[in-house]
């Protein structure tokens, strides 16, 4: 049988989706362990064998892939003011599918410099100053970076008056520096798309090859984008529709994995009432955040951090000493599935709390303030209270009733009244993990991708 094969090389699993060549629907999906240590082609072959066991022999006529294998796209970003250009740079990198390891603001210190050299990111994004604004900071930071033993390309997307000079400083010291339009050309204006396109092109040209993922040329040229970008494309298409085929409107999505928790929102999130004033940087319509410190296994301790342990005790009724031991086991044994009743309760509580923290960090917040003109509200970030659809991506850890119960923790709650999360939503779930696959064909075949997503994710629950 001829198929179009869509592949998502994840950090742990390689997930495949086979479509018939006319793109009428899904023939099958399968997953196997990612084999970064040897060649990712091996894990892919294992997944294809699993698929063939179900669907019969397949002949791949076309292969498209996205990847977050081998650490994904690791980036560091720097800006001038923490809430302005540094935040714009962070948004740009996250939307381009990167794992942002650290955000630097103001002048890089010697200590920062050694940290950067130790991290050796895949790309460094250097910003600072509006166009015609501050020049000193980005120049100083370019000089600091130029002295480092840094192998990655450096994107210069700051004040355009000095961007060429920054490039020169870096290039003279043997660094690959690329000038892009400023991420914040005017105060409060976000211009992140050009940088994101450059990041994607670097990812394709350099980073995939540099990671030594495979020796098979065809496989490497099939990799189109980092996985989160594919997911964002899929979600945007599902939300907005294409031509006469309507989308399903504003939505949020979460992907809770063993090491991280990704949250997406496709919604404007403007203030809902006239006595609300919006502060801070405007946020992207299609927004992604990723919490690198919370996950169901490797980062289970991150969920229990701060007052998390107390909440977990309260939620699953297991004493804290025993909980600590159980969490230790989970974080060391990343492929462990819950067996005992207690383990199931813990997984349920971990998922609930992780989702709560990740959605709070993603959504905007509101603050009440009394003025001579009466009660006013100051909103920062997106107001997602009216978003009424939530998609759970993958999620083998909680299903059925457990999923519905965990979903409650993504909602607006009186415990966190300032957090502007959805009040009510229907829960959809991408059980077969096809969102990234649909994102891969969203550009060339939007109509088909949209119909498949509606069928598989929205209507066939």
């Amino acid at each position: 049988m001829k198929v179009i094969l869509l592949v998502d090389f994840g950090s742990t699993y390689t997930k495949i989706t086979a479509l018939d060549p006319e793109l009428n629907g899904i023939i099958g999906t399968a997953q196997s362990y990612t084999t970064v240590e040897t060649d990712i082609a091996e894990g892919l072959q294992a997944a294809v064998s699993l698929l063939e066991a179900d669907s019969g022999k397949v002949e791949v006529v076309q292969l498209k892939a996205c990847s977050s294998a081998a650490g994904g796209l690791r980036m560091l970003v720097s800006g001038l003011v923490e809430k302005l250009t540094a935040e714009a740079a962070r948004q740009a990198a996250l939307g381009a599918g990167a794992k942002v390891l650290k955000v630097y603001s103001r002048q890089l210190t010697e200590a920062d410099a050694s940290e950067i050299a130790a991290i050796q990111p895949d790309i460094f994004l250097l910003t600072g100053g509006t166009d015609g604004g501050d020049e000193l900071n980005i120049l100083a930071n370019a000089k600091m970076l130029s002295k480092l033993d840094l192998k990655c390309p450096i994107l210069v997307a700051g004040n355009r008056s000095v961007a060429p000079e920054c490039q020169k400083i870096l290039a003279n010291n043997g660094k690959e520096a690329i000038v892009c339009p400023n991420v914040m050309p005017k105060l409060g204006t976000l211009n992140i798309q050009p940088v994101q396109e450059e990041i994607r092109s670097l990812f394709l040209k350099r980073i995939i090859e540099a990671k030594g993922l495979s020796h098979i040329e065809n496989l490497l040229t099939g990799i189109m984008m980092p996985t989160p970008v594919a997911v964002l494309k899929g979600l945007k298409l599902l939300s907005q529709g294409h031509g006469k085929e309507a989308g399903i409107g504003d939505l949020m999505a979460v992907d809770l994995g063993g090491a991280t928790c990704d949250v997406y929102s496709i919604a404007k999130g403007d203030p809902l009432s006239i006595n609300t004033i919006l502060k801070g940087l405007p946020e992207p319509f299609a927004k992604r955040t990723v919490e690198g410190d919370i996950g169901m296994r490797i980062n289970a301790h991150g969920i229990a951090a701060k007052d998390g342990l107390e909440r977990l005790v309260e939620m699953c009724g297991i004493p804290s000493d025993q909980l600590n031991v159980m969490i230790d086991q989970l974080s060391e044994n990343i492929s462990q599935l819950p067996e005992s009743e207690e383990q199931k309760r813990l997984d349920q509580a971990l998922a609930s709390l992780a989702l709560e923290t990740a959605t709070i960090r993603h959504a905007g917040s509101v603050e009440e303030t009394y003025t001579p003109a009466g009660l006013m509200y100051i909103q920062e970030g997106k107001d997602l209270r009216e978003v009424d659809q939530m998609i759970f991506i993958g999620g083998t850890l909680v299903r059925g009733e457990g999923l519905e119960a965990a979903a409650e923790y993504c909602k607006y709650s009186s415990r966190y009244p300032a957090s502007l999360r959805p009040k009510q939503f229907r829960t959809c779930s991408d059980k077969k993990y096809i969102l990234s696959a649909m994102g891969l064909i969203a550009e060339d075949h939007p109509l088909e991708a949209l119909r498949i997503m509606k069928k598989e994710i929205v209507y066939e629950q």
Partner: protein, 147 residues
């Protein structure tokens, strides 16, 4: 260098929502040849300072109409110094204190707080423009039309 427009950061401080005067000043200063980044109403000291750093502004122009300006502006100059803006030109104007007080006293108090110029209620925007041009040494040539 001489052709570069001088940059101003403009806004209404504190919990003050009076937007009309703010829009008038934005228009008047822009017409007079300044590059204006207008932060609008309900602006905190930190927002003024962040904006001024990122845009490398030449002056911060603070408005206040609701009478709480004195409280809102406390420590503003200190924060500028602490943030590396040092002696950036700092103006304030409007109905900046409670009740009817002698303007000379008000002006002195705000100057003690580190403001360079203090303007009483009902000041014509042109007065502010003239002071700005003097303080920032802008030549009043053809690029600055009167309004």
């Amino acid at each position: 260098m001489t052709n570069k427009k001088k940059k101003l950061v403009l806004g209404v401080i504190g919990a003050d929502v009076h937007a009309v005067g703010n829009r008038i000043l934005d228009f008047a200063f822009s017409q007079a040849g300044f590059e204006v980044d207008n932060l609008g109403v309900m602006v905190s000291q930190e927002e003024f300072i962040d904006a001024a750093i990122e845009t490398n502004a030449d002056a911060i122009i603070v408005s206040s109409l609701y009478g709480h300006g004195e409280l809102d502006c406390r420590g503003f100059r200190d924060k500028c110094i602490e943030s590396g803006l040092g002696n950036i030109l700092l103006y304030i104007g409007g109905n900046i204190v409670v009740g009817k007080q002698k303007f000379e006293d008000v002006e002195r108090r705000f100057k003690d707080m580190g403001f360079d110029r203090v303007f009483p209620p009902g000041t014509d925007p042109n007065v502010g423009i003239q002071w700005l041009q003097a303080d920032l040494k802008v030549k009043n040539d053809s690029s600055t039309s009167s309004c």
